[in-house]
Subunit: 249 residues, 2 copies
């Protein structure tokens, strides 16, 4: 018998899923979910390189072109949540995420801002839009997220969205790092990060409140932890796939 | 061998699906889809009774309470279409249907207007909302529609929505029949029908344009015809189930 060790980079640091014997209080549930931040993909070495100004133009371009597949998956996963949710009050809140990401007319919204970031990093719009640079591993991860949200109870899918709790810190680090280290990138390119800086806290508070309200049993709380762990893995696989694909010799 | 004849009421009059050997022009496709109106559930005897003022209060109440299951399924099927559609331009148009039906705050939107109709017909709100009167056959039909939209290509699901081409005529007949024959129903109750009178033509034009643009091959046009035929069956099964369940001795 051999013990098979995969690269430490192939999955995120395992989050501390509490061994529940009775349900956590809403506050303890929130704290336990927040503690998953140590497994967030911000701790992947690719992000350290990004924030230290050590990524090449090619690496940044590979990153921005690939992440578009994820950006494009987001409204579809949010619509899947709506399609599984029977509560109009929840749908009425949640639908705003789709509007944020798709915009209200052509050329607006989060996906468009991400394409603008790609252009500012020197990837032609056509090469962003036709996804020619998107790696199969990244595509599979993004599709796994849509499938998760289509096939799981809507509250599990809401729990998986709680990586947004950790997003603002990452956005702030990017907004600081880009002008400092990548001065060839035009400042307007950072619109996406700035928008998420205000949207992510609103979204994550909304998602957290739903999870606190609906996950009040051991079983539903376990499912919430599992859902967030799945999402952490999914984000991690994307960044790790990008990391290896564009590593400089 | 015996020939097994089901009741003529158990399915709608079969629509005339053209035997395609080459693709129809966009105009011919629209005309062929419009010709399906003869299979619309408006031709079910229950509607004739309704428009002639021959339904009892109990029958109208059974109808309104059961149809809520369908009303509630609509935003979920529309979200399923969004979740399967990669085109933000299409999503941006289609999302308005969800907003129409869910409203923008508690107490607004099409579902709420349907509940108000139920109350005006004498079904207490609580008995509408908890769906105690919803028959299993009606529930299965409504769920089949959501499942269709989740599992078929989004353009098939769009084609299935084209029963809206036929809706305004039915709405007009209801708006005329209710004050004439059912004077005990308050006029405000008809808000739902009046709203659909303007929304349905906008929606069906939008849906038809999408089907004309995307169904340009024999195969995709066949699928569009099949999808609309499925929807006609689904609406028919609902009204027929209601018809039999509340038949007066």
């Amino acid at each position: 018998m051999t013990t098979l060790h995969a690269s430490a980079l192939s999955a995120p640091p395992a989050p501390a899923i509490p061994a529940l014997t009775e349900p956590l209080s809403p506050e303890d549930l929130a704290n336990a979910l927040r503690s998953f931040s140590t497994s967030y993909y911000a701790s992947h070495p690719f992000h350290a390189l990004m924030h230290e100004g050590k990524l090449t133009r090619r690496q940044l371009q590979g990153w921005v072109a690939n992440r578009l597949a994820y950006q494009r998956a987001i409204p579809r996963k949010d619509a899947a949540i709506l399609s599984n949710c029977s509560d109009p009050d929840v749908r009425r809140e949640w639908i705003l995420r789709i509007v944020d990401h798709d915009g209200t007319e052509t050329g607006t919204g989060g996906i468009e801002k991400w394409i603008a970031l790609g252009e500012a990093l020197g990837v032609p719009r056509i090469e962003m839009e036709d996804e020619r640079h998107v790696l199969p591993g990244v595509r599979f991860a993004a599709e796994a997220y849509v499938t998760f949200c289509k096939t799981k109870p809507w509250i599990d899918a809401v729990a998986s969205s709680l990586t947004e709790l950790f997003a603002p810190d990452l956005m702030r680090r990017r907004i600081a790092a880009f002008p400092q280290h990548y001065s060839w990138v035009r400042p307007e390119a950072l619109d996406y990060f700035k928008t998420r800086l205000t949207q992510a806290p609103r979204d994550s508070q909304q998602g957290l409140a739903l999870v606190q309200r609906h996950c009040t049993t051991v079983e539903t709380q376990r499912r919430a932890f599992d859902a967030l762990a799945f999402k952490l893995e999914m984000l991690w696989v994307m960044i790790d796939t990008i990391h290896h694909a564009y590593a400089e010799a």
